[in-house]
Symmetry: C2
Subunit: 309 residues, 2 copies
Amino acid sequence: MKIVLLCGGVGGSKLALGLYSEFPDADFSIIVNTADDLEILGLHISPDLDTVTYTLAALSNPDTGWGLAGDSFHALAMLASYGHDGWFQLGDRDLATHLTRTHLLRSGMSLSEATGRIVRSLGVRASILPMCDEKVSTRVRTAGGWLAFQEYFVKRRHADKPIAVTHDGVESASVGPAVRDALLAADRVVVAPSNPVVSIGPIMALPGMLEILRSRRERTVAVSPIVGGQAVSGPAGELMKSQGFQASAAGVAAMYASFIEALIIDKADRDLASTIEGMDVRPEVTDTIMPDLASKKRVARFAVEATRR
Amino acid sequence: MKIVLLCGGVGGSKLALGLYSEFPDADFSIIVNTADDLEILGLHISPDLDTVTYTLAALSNPDTGWGLAGDSFHALAMLASYGHDGWFQLGDRDLATHLTRTHLLRSGMSLSEATGRIVRSLGVRASILPMCDEKVSTRVRTAGGWLAFQEYFVKRRHADKPIAVTHDGVESASVGPAVRDALLAADRVVVAPSNPVVSIGPIMALPGMLEILRSRRERTVAVSPIVGGQAVSGPAGELMKSQGFQASAAGVAAMYASFIEALIIDKADRDLASTIEGMDVRPEVTDTIMPDLASKKRVARFAVEATRR
């Protein structure tokens, strides 16, 4: 079975791990948002790629969902001596990933190739694919002006109300052959419970991507990241409102309706089922919170089986 | 008093610390070899600049003479997962220096400017000046062929017999204004007990440098790094022989005779005094081994006073 997951970082990687664990024999490809990527001290940092990779490699920090378990921060402490503002946490072992990626990119590799090298080095058997090789940069407009995504999200802890969102560079980026081939060959396409605006949104915004996704609609299911009108984590609700959507599972259905056949919603959102059906999206109800591996695997199986109902 | 020291890494930094501690009110400039510099994973590493800087900042590892006291190696361990051959020890806090330098260089700063920023950040009041801003790369020829200096020195632990030495790029490098001005204004010029071939040699090989040094001969003194026919540390003896010089304090005198007025030799080399005098270099005899701060300060004062005798 060929499974493709569209995915952001911390939220989506839970379902990624569920699929990876529940379907160990599947041909599993994960298309990951890279519009959160940033450069710090000349290092190319891909937070979502790293989160997914570390999670599948069983190296991720269980307390935060990002970074490496047991990492230390000695380099970051020394960087402070040199006047570096350490708002973005760079762990010592994590730095090894950023150094390796940056070096491979400077040596002429594409981000896809560098990611493949890193993923294989850590023993992960899934294909983890950056959504594109070109630079795309999400920015969020707040009352104080436009902020780079990580400045909005990490540095200012998404405390500012978002007014608008842009993905700079996306119009000149392109869907790479590995991403296109994985989607066109997929038996199942799953949209992770990631932030619809800043994690799945950039993937959807790639030129030609919606046409590809729509051609796979009957095999595509999403898991709602909004439960009971609240994002499971992060600022998804506020960001959806900034785009004119409701901060609800119905809002998620509205965003994805053209390319998903079913939306998996939480039991808490049962009463939204008819609204979602009205958008020609089939609601599938289950417990979508994934605090442990058993629940991740259960939601993963539910998602894969939902596309066959 | 204006003091200038010509210096390599571990050996020379002992006298650098002696001068810095014994003459706290001096205007102290240290011209440091950069022909050992190397690039690892895209990071610009300047081992001698770092050793001198860390030593004067009281941050250096007392057991090795290089690196930072108490540093950890978590990034290096993770880099091994990515297939990186970790023969060059990159400590976590040390990485912060390499990242900062590399970032400043990529942002358009010269090596001199980047070094100044790093030195001031660590609270060092001396001027630590790279010998030049251009790239110069020492290579050592062995029976097995030419080796990059750090490959010869660190990776293969200078176990190969050196046959020849070259400083690639030195003919198109230039003495920068800060180095020139420091030398021309100096009351005292001291040549540290560094490796004459691969630490002081590259400095001497800069176009125009010998002329400047010769113009300061009556104020210039060197401390021999060879005691009793053996290098105090490292492969200085073998390297001197590869250049046709004796591995002795007399060989050091022969290499430096055109620009030093006096050579400080160890008591163990007392019997070489007349040979050295025959090269028109005045021998000054003292105990030159510097195991502790008191001895470093004593040799520092002896060197400064030797230029006045």
